[in-house]
Symmetry: C2
Subunit: 234 residues, 2 copies
Amino acid sequence: MAKVICIGLGPGDPDLMSVKAHRLLAGARIVAYFRKAGRPGQARRMVAGLIPEDAQEWPMEYPVTTEIPFDDPAYNAALAPFYDHWAARLATAPEDVVVLCEGDPFFYGSFMHLHARLPEGQVEVVPGIPGMVGCWTATGRPITWGDDVLTVLPATLPQAELARRIADTDALVVMKIGRNLPRLRAALEQAGRLDDAWLVEHGTMPGERVRRLAEVTEAPYFSIALVHGRGRRP
Amino acid sequence: MAKVICIGLGPGDPDLMSVKAHRLLAGARIVAYFRKAGRPGQARRMVAGLIPEDAQEWPMEYPVTTEIPFDDPAYNAALAPFYDHWAARLATAPEDVVVLCEGDPFFYGSFMHLHARLPEGQVEVVPGIPGMVGCWTATGRPITWGDDVLTVLPATLPQAELARRIADTDALVVMKIGRNLPRLRAALEQAGRLDDAWLVEHGTMPGERVRRLAEVTEAPYFSIALVHGRGRRP
């Protein structure tokens, strides 16, 4: 039985992919990846030039073309048949399929929707450097040291909950920003941490940009906000 | 001026090192790494066979031979002159120095004590897959999905604080376990999460072991405890 091998591609720079992921990709016969219809896809773009020329490419195109926000429950409901279809197709592929995944597959990755539908023994996951690690590296400072507590939040949470959790942590990572930026900004201010917050766009990629969050008025969905820890002592 | 390049080695399996870290290591003329006096050192062991034979090795041996626990403030005080010495030596090296670091250098890494002492323009940090990522991969299940909140805690915190934070998160990672295991176990029980907790030892390494934390009575310092998220919806 052929295997489904999901490889974490890391934060963006293809040089930060693991040696193992790189080797699996170079030997792949079938490569699958998610993308929006009509778009090249971020994961596919990251490995441009690394997929063997004679490999088959299976773009898994999201059926949702109108813009349902990712954080709307209707989004996943609409996608269930799509994931069913692709899980069945991957499970019966004639050869091993290498599935591309930005960052790390098990950390907020879309691959989990396929993983949950595939027989356990048929799947292998190769970890990758999560996007947040590339982003804190871009700031040039440690995110945590000593006995710091780190909290990772989606910016989709209500403002009061964001503010409460931000006030209660040493180091902070916030994902899924995009149109949630004003709410995140207000929550950071409420928690007294706005001046310590950074926004990193395209971490480790050509357009990498690190700015104080207080100075930013618009952010892409895949940017990441950070507050560095301070080396708490017990 | 020669550079100091700290490379994250990832969670343990040398195959999970980044392509970039692997290339820097293969071309290194001077390789530095921390270790306890008289021990091979965990970072050095991870790259056995990958350091060029003619490279100089600079083991940076911790001066503390009696066992001061890592979480005792006296530990860092005793180490300040040691870090001063090595920062000065790395900064004036005749050629680029590659410094080895387990996991990711900016995520609870010892390298930060050198980083804080080195001139900013002279240092480069290459991120790595953090140990916790290797450990959650070993469990074969996603750590976070949907709008899960992830909290990373050092097991050195007081039990009441551990319990409060464990009860207040979706997904959980606990580091620095070792002799703090009984306190962590009690805190998990108090928070009603003991039955969901896993302990991963030597994640991605030959001795990898994944067990329910409730069944474990002894854990090495570098094991990691995990509770998986449940895909929270906003």
